[in-house]
Symmetry: C4
Subunit: 268 residues, 4 copies
């Protein structure tokens, strides 16, 4: 039992350390430092002449971040508590990947991982974490409309491949290429000048395909847009309307009580 107590008090100390504002501050500074370092590394002349230094800095950073994660794990009552938060999973995977791929031959993978560590700035700053959580929460509401969009994309991609495979192999050569081209078309980028006109000059009826896809695609995205705006306005509205209404209802209830009392007094 005494051992458990000691362990518990150690956990408490680690918890206090991890929750300390200087702890978060230091980690955030190191993430920013990490960001600057990967930025400088993109300049080949600097990188080549200080390769060893960059290697050492990276080694140091990865171990500091590992210690940070381990401390945060130890601060929890149970290890499973740590993995309840998806942000902790995110931190854990980013750091763990750095260890796993360290011996990798693909130097680019390692370097990209180092860049992705900068995303940890979001998980460390609470206001950013809340913002990203809010942004991600809007996605499930879009589920059905994204499913519909996928069906439309797929049908148009298959049709496009069948129809224009030979005329425009650079845009509709295969199913995956058609999907990429349709994504370009739905952003309205060079859909006419780049994609439609060259095909149009070969197959004059091809405008039906493009115009209908642009109309359907933008119409669905437009409705997705409206859906999100409306649901947000509604939510915000409901929130502050409730307060006002609740106050008024209380007033009316008090009034009722007064009248009931009055009527009782009378009958007595």
């Amino acid at each position: 039992m005494s051992q458990k107590k000691t362990q518990s008090s150690l956990r408490q100390k680690i918890f206090n350390l991890v929750q300390h504002k200087y702890f978060t501050g230091t980690i955030l500074s190191l993430i920013i430092f990490n960001a600057i370092v990967v930025g400088i590394e993109t300049y080949p002349t600097i990188y080549q002449s200080h390769k060893q230094l960059f290697f050492l800095i990276d080694k140091a950073l990865i171990w500091i971040f590992t210690v940070e994660i381990v401390l945060r794990m130890m601060a929890e009552r149970k290890l499973s508590d740590f993995f309840k938060s998806s942000w902790n999973w995110f931190d854990f995977l980013i750091v763990a990947a750095g260890h796993i791929f360290i011996g990798a031959h693909f130097i680019t993978v390692l370097r990209i991982l180092r860049v992705l560590r900068v995303f940890r700035a979001i998980s460390v700053v609470p206001s950013l974490r809340k913002l990203v959580d809010a942004l991600l929460l809007t996605i499930p509401a879009l589920g059905n409309i994204m499913l519909l969009m996928s069906i439309i994309f797929y049908i148009f991609a298959v049709t496009g491949t069948m129809l224009f495979q030979e005329v425009a192999p650079e845009y509709f050569g295969s199913l995956q290429l058609s999907l990429l081209t349709l994504f370009q078309v739905v952003t309205l980028e060079s859909w006419a000048s780049g994609v439609m006109w060259p095909i149009f000059h070969e197959l004059p009826w091809s405008w039906i395909y493009f115009v209908s896809f642009v109309l359907v695609g933008t119409f669905v995205i437009f409705n997705l847009f409206i859906g999100v705006i409306v649901s947000n306005v509604e939510k915000a509205d409901a929130a502050d309307k409730v307060d006002e209404m609740a106050e008024l209802k209380n007033e009316v209830k008090e009034l009722k009580q007064l009248i009931i009392n009055l009527s009782k007094e009378k009958s007595s």
Copy 2:
């Protein structure tokens, strides 16, 4: 009468079968299978070497879907009930077209029909069907603004053809070409770099035509956009406001009754 009863009980059995979740599930799986098959068919090497197999799969699918439609027709009390739903019409036409065009020489038409069958995924999944119904319901409200847009398009197309027919025959060579070009311009795609600048270098006053069309076109679309947002916010607002207000009104009415009772008691 006994015959009618038998018939009715057969109808009931078919109805139960058609409404069964496994029935819908099987049809949905077959539609997804159909989608995958048409996707694979777009790869010429695979298609050429398994032409016979793809033909057989298609034959099988079209007969299964035909049986499905016939069963769903028989499940209804009257055949005309089946055709009351526009989704049933959609299903019927997609499948019927497969039979009609089966002997067609235009192999592409047949293949596109096979792709369009994937759209049946929408008519089978209730949540998607509701979503598409909702999307289509926003169209009638846009009737007037689309009529206005058509008038603007037509006038600009005729004017554009008259003015730029000789200078830019690839964009304004005929009325139908001008309409297509104006559709490109209203999506703001290469309207300046592709369409206006070459004409501008020949006819310096041509910018008036393009700038006014871009301003008028985007202004009308922008108002169409706002109209839809506002009507949706309003609808959503009205829906949840009514509840709150109705509750409050009930409270006030109860109050009134109390006072009236009080006043009656007094006079008695």
Copy 3:
């Protein structure tokens, strides 16, 4: 006095004629016929071989429209009443211009006027007229933000001309050319690929000019957009809120009266 009476009853008859649904219907049909004719005229082969016919049709149409306008003028109590509506001005000018320019050497001006007559479809159909009135009503509210936009455009145009006149004379050769280029940039059309990159390769600091204009320009347009949405939602909201609230207030007032009566009864 008898003459006045006759005149008045003639006016009444004309008024009845002008208001008759067949009158408006006929005019609308003629406008649509006019639209089809100008559409056909854009095909040079048809136009050249039937030049005389098109000339006669146009002559007939212009006189019919003239008679229509004159009748509508006579239907009014005073001529000045006719010119109170800006739609009447619009109709009058479109038709009058056809007479003024009939001897013009510039055949294109005449033909464009004939196309503009199609716009009269808007002034004849009441629902379209209301829609356009509503659209035009949103413009004054945008006055200040459009003034701000003009100042920003002018300053950037002058600066752009000064800075890039020699490097990119095709886009910034003169003040008017710069304004047109900036309009292209604010629609985000080829602002980078067409306009910025070639200048950027000569003057590496030029990105500051373009990025700041894109940011400021889209930010202002974006706020204009929001302003219109908000004011519309508000208006719509206010409209249906007033009804609900008014009802509730009436209920509360009735309640008050009941209590006052009760208190009077008591004291009496």
Copy 4:
């Protein structure tokens, strides 16, 4: 004390002068005149032949504006009062810069300063000043989302530079170039035709980078957009709801008082 009084009365006179509508009117006219002059100066032939005149006009304008600023400073009780308004700082800096750079060899800097003076039209017209104040007030609310956008931009820029430095040096040659390219991509301008396709033909997996950046970038901007709309609709709603509600509450309170009085009367 008498000196102070004199000084005070002088201050009062200057204050009256500065607040006079003709004073503001004159300054606004001079700013517009200044705008026209800098506009004319962009035409090289006119500028070269009247260089001396333009120089004199500019000298005159700068001294008039200096006198204006000094008078407005003297009209304030304390000099520090003048610098409390950021618009006064803006006016002061624009005019002061004209004096500082007058001997500058960089003639372009001087000319741009002359153009920037046109911005003073905003600080002089109250309605424009209010509009710009309102626009700038929306920026702090966007703080977090702009921080998030910066992190996303930075990570994609570093990754892009690492991955495409050698394949597309004209777009991803260095970190600053990548940032500029990503800004172009997020405006959806030639992101596919200009930037992605050439890289795609070298590195077929590169579409993942571009598609994910377009999706993430537009998604964040889209949410920023929605956030601003919602907060504005809410604000506007709250403003006019309060009035209606306050009125209703007052009615209910009066009612309460009436009932309390009734109950008192009774017990007495």
